[in-house]
């Protein structure tokens, strides 16, 4: 039967991540009729002996899950299909499959409303540039207002307290007025320097209030099969600098750090991003070939002594490989 053959073959590839040439229909038939599937497959030499019992049982479960999913399209008159429908493995899988629309409904409804209401873009409603511009404008406006107030004060003082001053006195008063601006400018400069210095200490990622630190295990490519299941990747410290938060308090941060950049060494990965509340994963695809996943985007990273720009990965084949590794390591 074609459908049994196809499902047996496909689920084999899915379980073992490799292709093979076996008697698929015979294996499928055994899946349906055998009480000890592993023993029967090995004894009849229908598969290679290097397959574990656990994987074979998982393969058979996947087989019945596929059958259950295609149940409505199966030939009701076929005796093998009739037999399948009486088996506990099929019954449990059909129960599972039938519940999936309900199990996914809550998330489905959320996603639907997000799309309809544009909630996903809620955080993008006010672009960062606009915030930055608004902050700049606010500071400038505040400063201008201060100058205006000072000017007004000067004029009042000049009118009230110096009604009959001589030319030299007027010049002195004017000079004093300029001196005030100079002092104000120095004061702003001093504040900026102090702020800068204080903030400069913040570039030491460890002590910065804008840095979120976490420990992550590097996801390793364990091959396509189920080999090296026990092998654990090494741990890495990931520090994410919240650029947007930092720039609100001190704009000079943009002179020191570049948004969307990284610094990567053996044990550490430093990231400068617009937000530190993100999900990150590091994948070692091949020996010393690293990729970084930030939320749902991938970036290739390499070991470096200075900050480098993050470059988005667009190769769908590599992305798929990386997703597979992450899935296996989950």
């Amino acid at each position: 039967m074609k459908v049994i053959t196809e499902i047996t073959k496909n689920t084999y590839e899915l379980t073992f991540n490799s292709e093979a040439e076996y008697e698929w229909f015979q294996i499928g038939r055994l899946f349906i009729e055998s009480d000890d599937i592993y023993k029967d497959l090995i004894e009849n030499a229908l598969i290679k002996k290097n397959k574990s019992k656990e994987d074979v049982l998982s393969w058979r479960d996947l087989f019945f899950m596929e059958i259950a999913e295609q149940n409505e399209h199966l030939d009701d008159q076929n005796p093998l299909i009739k037999l399948i429908r009486t088996l506990p493995l099929f019954i449990s899988n059909i129960k599972f499959i039938n519940h999936l629309p309900k199990a996914t409904a809550a998330l489905g409804r959320e996603i639907l409303l997000d799309e309809l209401i544009d909630n996903k873009n809620a955080d993008q409603l006010i672009p960062d540039k606009l915030i930055e511009a608004a902050l700049k404008k606010k500071s400038r406006d505040d400063l201008k207002r201060n100058f205006e107030e000072w000017n007004a004060e000067d004029e009042i003082k000049e009118t009230v307290f110096v009604p009959n001053k001589s030319e030299s006195e007027k010049i002195y008063t004017k000079k004093f007025s300029y001196l005030k601006y100079l002092i104000a400018a120095c004061f702003i400069g001093a504040i900026a320097v102090i702020g800068y210095n204080n903030f400069n200490n913040g570039y030491d990622f460890e002590d910065s209030q804008f840095v979120k630190t976490s420990e992550k295990i590097v996801n390793k490519n364990k091959g396509l099969g189920f080999a090296n299941k026990e092998e654990k990747g090494k741990s890495i410290t990931i520090q994410v600098f919240d650029f947007n938060k930092a720039i609100v308090l001190n704009k000079s941060v943009s002179d020191k750090l570049v948004l969307h950049s990284y610094l990567f060494s053996d044990k550490e990965l430093k990231l400068v991003l617009e937000d530190s509340n993100i999900k990150t994963e590091v994948v070692e695809l091949e020996q010393s070939v690293f990729y970084l996943k930030i939320n749902d985007k991938f970036f290739k990273i390499e070991k470096t002594n200075e900050f480098k720009n993050l470059e988005k990965l667009n190769d769908p084949k590599i992305i798929e490989q990386l997703e597979r590794i992450l899935f296996k390591n989950e």
Partner: protein, 191 residues
């Protein structure tokens, strides 16, 4: 005979957003007219309207679902039903200016409301719990399964959304996710 709008919606679900924007103010006005702003504030109307759109979306998959009126009229009716159901649950009195509601004739017409997601058996609860775990853990599995089972998306659409090279790979990933979900659910069921 289905309305032209319904056929268009079934063919292209992206039209739902367009429809959402067009129908929303009219549904709000309708609810305000029916129940008055004292009985229903904007937040309440917003919730009811969103639920009504979900009702319509879920009905699109039902081949037996037919519309003899416009989508606007249908959504108005669902909003009215759901608002009334809400009042009943909250045991809240309302004042209506709608004669149909006064006479309760509406119940002979559209009776659709949002189906609540209830989990009867321990097995269903275990699957839902497993799905929640999968969702919290990140990765694409929860969204892939939702796209397939709730949104009825094709494998091509899933492949495109998650940048898989082809539909077969998307199908494989979906199968793996399903198997994982089942395995986690089994653990919950055993505990």
């Amino acid at each position: 005979m289905d309305s032209k709008e319904l056929i268009e919606l079934r063919q292209d679900k992206n039209k739902l957003k367009q429809m959402y924007k067009i129908c929303k103010p009219k549904c709000f006005a309708f609810m305000a007219k029916c129940f008055g702003s004292q009985s229903m504030d904007d937040t309440k109307m917003f919730t009811v309207f969103n639920d009504a759109v979900i009702v319509l979306y879920e009905k699109l998959e039902d081949p037996d679902f037919k519309l003899t009126s416009s989508i606007q009229t249908y959504l108005n009716s669902v909003c009215r039903n759901m608002a009334l159901e809400g009042f009943r649950k909250e045991q809240k009195l309302y004042k209506t200016t709608d004669r149909d509601i006064e006479n309760l004739d509406y119940s002979d017409q559209v009776t659709d409301v949002l189906e609540e997601i209830t989990n009867e058996s321990p097995y269903e609860k275990a699957i839902n719990k497993a799905f929640a775990v999968m969702r919290n853990k990140g990765g694409n599995c929860a969204e892939i399964l939702t796209m397939f089972w709730y949104q009825k998306a094709s494998m091509e659409e899933i492949a495109s959304r998650f940048t898989y090279t082809n539909a077969k790979n998307a199908k494989n990933q979906k199968a793996k996710c399903q198997k994982r979900l089942k395995d986690i659910a089994l653990q919950f069921e055993r505990n």
